[in-house]
């Protein structure tokens, strides 16, 4: 019986938007290795490049949903 997590990861990695993106590859690798620090680093770097802090992004999510991140193709 395959693990649900591995199954979800397989679906995630089959998405070409993630498979062909360096951020997506690293994020999938972090998920596979259960490396939360790597995932947090990627998230913090993306937020920092947008000029948002972690708290500001969380506040935006609570109020409006996903933060204002244009060109976010993963969940098109």
């Amino acid at each position: 019986m395959p693990n649900v997590f591995d199954f979800a990861l397989m679906i995630l990695q089959s998405n070409p938007n993630i498979a062909n993106s360096p951020i997506g590859k690293n994020f999938a690798e972090a998920c596979r290795n259960r490396d939360s620090s790597m995932g947090e680093e990627i998230a913090n770097n993306i937020l920092a490049s947008q000029g948002l802090s972690k708290d500001e992004a969380l506040d935006q999510i609570k109020q409006k949903g996903m933060p204002n991140l244009p060109n976010f193709p993963f969940f098109r």
């Binding site: 089959s14 360096p22 951020i23 997506g24 690293n26 490049s49 060109n71």
Partner: protein, 163 residues
């Protein structure tokens, strides 16, 4: 009693004949047909400070921002850790010209190698001469010392021995 199961073909057809079930695999999702962009993202800017982080795509593709005065082109992209990396391309000077070789490049390389080998052999010969001359001078010194010791140990009759 024989409890042989019977199949009612009308209401319960054998699934292994006729209707074939697909084996459970990863379900197929309809992804966007192509992720290739036909247009290069970017725009003309006055300086690098005018470039917004949102203009750099998340999929790792490059975005190009030429300066309005044509003095440079800024190319930005995101690396695997989500950080934005940038490169600056500056136009080459007008007198820049790629070298056109009259001689075959391989021939030039072989000549360079031969010249280097000749130089090295000359230096090796010089070093060997120096070593040989040093060795001969050292051997003369050792011979003088050994004669002195021999004379001290076996002095000739009437000879003065200096300690």
């Amino acid at each position: 009693m024989n409890n042989i199961p019977t199949f009612n073909t009308t209401t319960n057809p054998n699934p292994y004949i006729g209707n074939h079930y697909a084996s459970p695999t990863v379900p197929s999702f309809n992804y966007p047909a192509s992720t290739l962009r036909s247009i290069l993202p970017g725009r003309s800017v006055e300086s690098s400070k005018d470039i917004l982080p949102g203009e750099v795509p998340m999929d790792g593709g490059i975005s190009v921002f030429p300066r309005s005065d044509g003095s440079a082109i800024y190319v930005k992209y995101r690396n695997g850790k989500g950080l934005i990396e940038d490169h600056i391309f500056v136009p080459a000077p007008e007198d820049y010209n790629e070298e056109i070789l009259d001689v075959d490049q391989e021939t030039m390389n072989i000549k360079d190698i031969l010249n280097t080998v000749n130089d090295l052999s000359t230096k090796v010969d010089a070093l060997s001469d120096i070593i040989a001359s040093n060795a001969s001078s050292n051997s003369r010194k050792y011979n003088n010392k050994s004669n002195k010791n021999h004379n001290q140990q076996n002095p000739k009759e009437g000879a003065e021995v200096n300690a």
